[in-house]
Subunit: 142 residues, 2 copies
């Protein structure tokens, strides 16, 4: 396994495929391996993510760059950015500064399991969202 | 942490948000935690994934349902399907039957790191794609 072609250290120019100027970015906790969230980046968000070291998305609802955690303080420090075989998806290995990534108070946005009967919460809340975002406030994540 | 609200076992009806009838699905190896790929599902793909237990996408290039591994035999057996807070992304915990998920011969489709100078391969090949897909064959993954 893996012996017929060694690890290539060749660096090629990267070509990303955007759709409507966006590319989905999966965020994974670099220590636990937990998938924290999925967001979308445009070219500017990718550049800002790389230059600042903080995960930055393009908010589709607000139509502007969105530094994850700019409201909550629960930011995502970039460790590594990976790209998939087709160049149309990113995987960011990151470190979460704060108790949870999700604006609903959970570590991961994927805190619900889909069952034949509907959805079921499978995680415990790490923080009270009303104390972080305010009673009505909410950090958009799309 | 997590004490103010216990684990809810309440099951609610699930509402998914599709965009152009599709929802992105992140596939994670349930044992290693490795993110294997990102694909897209429509309602029929979700239903087939759940009823058969094999990850099924909607191929955007071929405009039809696509059982991952139908060409290579490297299928993805579903362990659990999760949904994110906004209901617009899925995370599938799965078991890979075969040496690699990626049609380029790697375990994960995210086998390249993005560096300031370009892309760099950071994994070793697990199999020879030409022996699995043929010299010209390729399993579309989008």
């Amino acid at each position: 396994m893996g012996s017929y072609q060694g690890l290539s250290r060749q660096v090629k120019k990267m070509e990303l495929k955007f759709e409507n100027e966006l590319i989905p970015a999966v965020i994974q906790d670099r220590r636990s391996g937990k998938v924290l969230m999925l967001g979308y980046m445009n070219q500017a968000a990718i550049e800002q993510t790389q230059s600042t070291g903080w995960v930055t998305f393009f908010s589709r609802s607000r139509q502007k760059l969105w530094v994850k955690g700019e409201t909550s303080g629960h930011r995502l420090q970039v460790h590594e950015v990976r790209v998939d075989c087709d160049g149309d998806a990113l995987l960011v290995q990151a470190e979460l500064t704060g108790p949870g990534c999700c604006h609903k108070g959970y570590k991961s946005c994927f805190y619900r399991k889909v069952t034949p009967r509907g959805e079921e919460v499978i995680a415990e809340r790490e923080f009270d969202p009303s104390q972080v975002y305010g009673q009505t406030g909410k950090e958009s994540r799309s």
